[in-house]
Symmetry: none
């Protein structure tokens, strides 16, 4: 129905097609990996003719890059939202909330992230792009910790290391749950509670 004949609606079909292909490709790529993701599967999923893909993206490799770029950008934007929100709350609460949100964020995208880790590594262009993704995330966290150090709320520790430590725990929890059959730490909420405790107080008695 929607957008047609006249109706006067705003959004024309214009690049809906390109968009549809990108979305389909993203799903198929993430689920199957680059090679098992055939252009015909993608075309079917997108509801277009296979050739249309080549008209729009020239080569499969190109399509891959377009998919990565698009999703990375969207992902970075979402990330900004998450990271900016909690800055002024109490530090313990902040870390917990941020953890929960970030975990959800990774969980939602883990298939794509794993895809990036393996396929993205091969072309230098996407490798750089993907590096930015991690870098940006870590920089955000680092800034937050730096600020807290300046405010005297935490000890003077290398804020890069703090950022990396926190990131590792959350990212790894997400990746483990996606990759392995077995959940070593079953419950997110409790885990974060406990983790924050360790992170803040250390393990010594």
């Amino acid at each position: 129905m929607g957008e047609s004949v006249s109706e006067g609606l705003i959004q024309p079909d214009k690049d809906k097609v390109k968009e549809r292909i990108l979305n389909a490709a993203m799903l198929i790529f993430a689920k199957n990996g680059y090679h098992r993701a055939t252009t015909i599967k993608i075309a079917k999923k997108a509801g277009v003719n296979e050739v249309t893909i080549f008209r729009k993206f020239k080569t499969k490799e190109n399509l891959l890059n377009a998919v990565i770029r698009k999703n990375l950008n969207e992902t970075l934007n979402t990330l900004d939202l998450i990271l900016c929100k909690e800055k002024n709350a109490d530090i313990e609460i902040c870390i917990k909330t941020l953890g929960i949100n970030l975990k959800q964020f990774f969980d939602d995208r883990m298939e794509f992230i794993l895809f990036m880790i393996t396929e993205g590594r091969k072309t230098p262009e996407t490798r750089i792009l993907f590096t930015q993704f991690q870098f940006k995330m870590l920089e955000h966290l680092k800034d937050y910790f730096q600020e807290q150090i300046n405010l005297g709320k935490i000890r003077r520790i290398n804020p890069d290391l703090l950022a990396f430590t926190l990131f590792s725990f959350i990212f790894n929890k997400s990746i483990s749950e996606e990759v392995f059959e077995h959940k070593f730490l079953p419950d997110d909420l409790n885990s974060f509670e406990e983790y924050t405790n360790i992170f803040m107080n250390g393990i010594l008695p």
Copy 2:
């Protein structure tokens, strides 16, 4: 016929061939991913005829499973060595040494681990196998921490969580360095020193 100098001898080369194929396959798989790793490339690397692979392993999928099983076993054995060594030392020293060793261990195998993460996930059999890998590692660490808790050397915290926290940091450092262009934390030794400090004392002033 050809190469059999004399018929009746013990033929120690017997399954050197199978071994050679498995080693070659492991390298080619890890470097290229399952699909880019063609049987002909593997055959060339192994110095055997392509068909020999099919004689020995029937299908490429089979070869993949054999490779994974073999490498996972070897890997688990190596892991045992690392994890058992340091148990009785001072806790801080122990964690640091273990970190260094584990990091080296991951670095050496990261290509294969990444390969497992992506390709292993697809066949249930290897997925289970791979799960054991993580499980075993975490169990070892957990046991260590449980012991330390019992000895009163660290507070009563969920030892699973402790294991997972430590593992995350090390594993993530290794994976980051393999996947991303940019090293966020440049130096292993210093990083571990600092990390151990946080891990043990927390971040609060």
Copy 3:
């Protein structure tokens, strides 16, 4: 709607479009051969939309024929000019000048002529067309020689043969220079001078 400033005007551009397509097609065909010459390349060169080609010419094969017909006609007209000019001059001068002009004429069109030789041969219609091209040229030359024979300026020799002999030399010089890396006879002017000498006096001492 777009570009039609006002509806009712005479549109002199009318079949400028067809013309533009034909010119573009001629260049692309000659440079690439029929198959490498894609309709999209032609469209781009002509500055029109690909579909316009099909509006105007129905099929690519049709376009080919139109191109050939057009260029052959233009070519034949140009040829007429060259061949008619020199008829009354001294015979040696005439042959030399004609040689130079004809050579230039071939050089300018050799890509197209080579294209005709290979692609034109395949469709009977264009084959006939192209045959006329050679025929007309040879007839012109023949008439000239017949006339000279009648005037007693040259011996009674088969004028067809004379025409063909002269034509061969010039045509072959042009084709050789286009096709081969190496110029066997470097300089046109000298070569024609010498050639005319042989042609007129033979090789015997």
Copy 4:
């Protein structure tokens, strides 16, 4: 030895396959041109599976080059035979015989030569190869004329030019008959007779 059961026949099938493919390719290429000559057509003609072509020659382009190289070599060898034969006979007879032989030689290969002219021109390697072909032929002729000049049997004229002139007539006759519908000079024997007359005595009365 070797290959087989019994039969004891000399010629093993060894590279008959490669040979068969080359021969089939040569025919299909010459008849259809590079693009119309599909690998499947070639495979069918050669009586092998399409893939075998790629096993043996990697790419279609490669096959093209192999075909050209092979045929050019065979052609150059045949040429040697023709050009060497008649050196000591009477000059007029020699030229006539050589003409007849050369004409036959071209007629037999004209499809391939035309194919070379158009497709060979595109890749530099084959272009050079093909240049040699013409060069060799002209050098042979030139040497012959030089000798005759030294013996005082013909006037002191640029022997390169003599070679080129003779070659042009013969080559052009062959090419014309292949390309055009219409034979301008119908009969080879008579034509050569007459041509030799002109070539030796010139056209003046």
